[in-house]
Symmetry: C2
């Protein structure tokens, strides 16, 4: 069903995989996402369609694979010397990338052709790893910090919910507000939280 074989680096499989991935990226930029087909991609990559079908099974699984690669962070988050600054900067950049039209497309693709939830899980792991780095820095500085799960629940999840389930665009201020609400101790008023800042 989902072959997705192990690929040893340098082998022929690796070359084919890279060639196909590159073809997807090129054609996506040239003809647009909706016009992608397996035969088209295969032709550009210099392989036969059946190779693509056997390795990925499906156009969506292939796009999912490529999307995950594009969503992989290319380096550790910037260090601003302070937990709040680190988290805010990371969240703002994350939101900006994910909320952009191409970003949304990648997130949806990663989620899409993915019966096992395997690719989506990898995306989540990427974010968790970045957050873990930020929190570890805070711990090194002696700052008290929430744990990764809490940051995911309170910051990452709301942002992705908006990206996936609501089409309206929203500024990076939303990310800042979420981080602020997470870190700032809240006055023990009633059940209600203080209203978020700029919306």
């Amino acid at each position: 069903m989902s072959p997705r074989p192990m690929v040893r680096p340098g082998g022929r499989s690796a070359r084919v995989q890279e060639s196909v991935h590159a073809a997807v990226r090129e054609l996506e930029a040239e003809v647009g996402r909706g016009a992608l087909t397996v035969p088209l991609i295969a032709a550009r990559a210099g392989v036969t369609p059946s190779t693509v079908y056997r390795r990925w099974g499906d156009l969506q699984e292939l796009l999912s694979d490529v999307a995950v690669e594009r969503l992989r962070p290319d380096g550790p988050p910037e260090d601003h010397g302070d937990l709040a600054a680190d988290l805010t900067a990371w969240a703002e950049q994350f939101l900006e990338e994910m909320a952009s039209p191409p970003g949304r497309a990648y997130v949806r693709d990663a989620l899409l052709g993915d019966p096992d939830g395997d690719n989506a899980g990898q995306c989540s792991d990427y974010a968790a790893a970045q957050i873990a780095i930020i929190l570890a820095r805070a711990a090194d500085r002696g700052q008290r910090a929430p744990d990764v799960e809490e940051v995911i629940d309170r910051v990452v999840a709301p942002m992705l919910y908006r990206i996936l389930f609501r089409r309206g665009s929203f500024g990076t201020g939303y990310a800042r507000d979420l981080v602020t609400a997470l870190l700032a101790p809240r006055e023990p008023s009633a059940g209600a939280n203080p209203p978020l800042g700029g919306r």
Copy 2:
């Protein structure tokens, strides 16, 4: 691209739409979700495949349409006489339904064939409407309550994030913990939140 025409009730279009939707539901139960094809559905519905392609454009958009219908709540949430009880019960049931294998499939389908984010937005609106009812009841009782956006950010979004991005199953206790953390004022300790209960 996305025809999705206006459908006057009682007209032929409405009959076709209902017939096709019914065919999807029946066949999904009979042959399984993965074996669904447009020609198969069209045959069961007593229409030609081209009708389905013209109206929905695509198998995924059709499945998305059907999924949204299945995700529509069938009634107002139960009234337990207390905000915390209402929210907890609703969140637990929501999580249970959405985290089940069929529930996950519906959520994914609703998100999937949906270039405009239109169907997904409708799902979000369903949940928001249910929450608004619960919060309005609380206001009627004079209870202080958060607003809908906050419940979505703190309860709905984390649950859906887990459903979509992490394959591990989790109990309804997660829903209860989220509601508790939302409603309970938190001791103004350091930046860190108190750990959630059972995980």
